[in-house]
Symmetry: C2
Subunit: 329 residues, 2 copies
């Protein structure tokens, strides 16, 4: 039997609002009988949830307000007190909850997680790990948070954090690739070559060498390490290219009989590959299980983020990360 877990849901920032969150919550509960959810909501949202859901495993915490989806880190610290995100993080820190799933602003979630939960030994700022679709399985990549100024030791830290997280999420040690502009050992910036040396000389890490951005999508490795700038460019570029391609396909097939028949197939491929649908980005390096959900996700995606949170909490990912970090210093 699965270990009982109690997970906070901060639905602020989810484009689909309370209706989508309620559908996601129902899906998640139906697949996991030892799951309890606490929804943090402002008054309006709380009323909506109460009308839609009446499951004894769902509790609603009414909060003063919720944070805007584009709120930056500094404003979140200044104005976050009493918000859905803030109160959920406080209960998580106090041990009343096992994990938090939030659709709110990434900057706010990073800042408040760090502020309220604190970070693990040696970690200055948390990193965000997200799944990239490939033909066979998702490839995990970090950092997709805002860690833009990194040094080689920070990239090594990402490799450690990602390795432990992949072991929990995928059940095996990942082959680790370092994002670069070529695969030959001499390629790329000094910083990345130095990080390659650090990762490679660490016997616990299964280092597979440099990967170029296109190889990420062919599943050449299981975990891709990069700074937050390159990670953002990679993910957003793929999103932009896929969006452009589906717009072109729609205009090419429009109005034809073939288009009518093709529609469901195109939709299936779209759903399987849209990076936004591979939802649920673990925030690694904070003292608590926090999952960032894409704001534009569907109910299936939001349910998946809740499942990820439950999986991480049950496997004590945070405790494992802490032991790994202490051992690697």
């Amino acid at each position: 039997m699965k270990k009982p877990v109690r997970i906070a849901v901060d639905a602020a920032g989810i484009d689909g609002g309370i209706a989508l969150a309620a559908a996601a919550i129902s899906q998640a509960l139906s697949c996991d009988e030892n799951l309890e959810l606490v929804v943090f909501a402002d008054q309006d949202a709380a009323d909506g949830i109460a009308r839609t859901l009446s499951d004894p495993r769902v509790q609603v915490e009414t909060c003063d307000h919720s944070l805007a989806a584009d709120l930056n880190a500094a404003a979140a610290i200044r104005r976050g007190n009493g918000s859905t995100m803030w109160l959920a993080l406080e209960q998580l820190r106090a041990g009343q909850l096992d994990a938090l799933v939030s659709g709110g602003s990434t900057g706010a979630l990073m800042a408040l997680s760090r502020h309220i939960l604190g970070t693990l030994p040696g970690v200055e700022r948390p990193a965000l790990m997200a799944a990239i679709p490939t033909m066979t399985r998702p490839v995990w990549m970090l950092d997709l948070g805002a860690n833009i100024h990194v040094d080689a030791r920070r990239l090594l830290e990402f490799a450690h954090l990602g390795q432990v997280a992949c072991q929990v999420l995928e059940g095996k040690a990942p082959r680790i690739g370092l994002l670069n502009v070529g695969t030959e050992p001499g390629k790329g910036p000094d910083l990345i070559r130095e990080a390659a040396r650090l990762i490679d000389e660490n016997p616990e890490l299964n280092y597979a060498g440099f990967v170029e951005a296109d190889q990420v999508f062919s599943g050449a490795v299981d975990l891709v390490v990069c700074d937050g700038f390159a990670g953002n460019v990679l993910l957003k570029s793929a999103e932009g290219a896929i969006k452009l391609l589906f717009a072109s396909l729609r205009s090419e097939f429009q109005g034809s009989l073939c288009g009518l028949i093709a529609k469901s197939r195109l939709q299936r491929v779209h759903d399987s590959l849209d990076p936004a649908r591979h939802n649920g980005a673990p925030m690694l390096g904070v003292r608590g299980t926090v999952i960032k959900s894409h704001g534009g996700t569907c109910s299936r995606g939001f349910a998946r983020a809740i499942e990820l949170a439950a999986l991480e909490a049950r496997h004590d990912l945070v405790g494992r990360l802490e032991r790994q970090l202490l051992a690697s210093y």
Copy 2:
């Protein structure tokens, strides 16, 4: 009547070999009656060209050898003498040619162009500008060469180079975007915010602000400025995502009647969007018109690279760039 131009073709490094190059040459000649081509080829390739093409406007220069497609910059300088690329660049410098199109190694072409042609005032290393597909028209982006360590002034220089090139290639001044991880003014690394300030305060440049990688594909701006690392990640990520998507579409449609009907439509969309097909990357900042062709291009793509070279040579892009650079210091 178009001004007569004489353009060198270095077909070494083109995956499709001499057959593809010959087809491209025929296409280019048929669209441009004032075009002359000089094909630089090793003995085998020269024999092949002589057997395939017998146009009085095509001349073949037989060279000792051609450079490997993956040759790096240092090896190109050491071993390049007597190669197809080297001899074409020497004739370009001597004024016997108006431009060079090469499918060879980017590193070798950058190094030998700089070594043999020299660079324009204030330019330390050339930049490579490539076209990214969007729904309506290509968006130009630089750098896609190997300029990884850039400062804010170098990004300003890219904006100047790209602006002049876009004026020649598209006939109008581009809206310029700076690649970043967010669009708000405070976002991203110091270096990029400093570059934004430099570009924005320059009255000759039509600065449109930061762009995120996904916005590049929606055609939010006409010219995207970034360092060579981010440019490589953006382009390769889009290539990888599009390749993955077409593989998924093929497997989804396979074996069905609809798939049979859809095939040509899918191919059309593929051809219109594959970044590799938007072929021909102007190398900016060297004293000569040099176009890098993608090695994996089709004959239509290689012909397009030749057309770009003719366009740049006829509009004296290099002279314009030199005047612009002198004026901006």
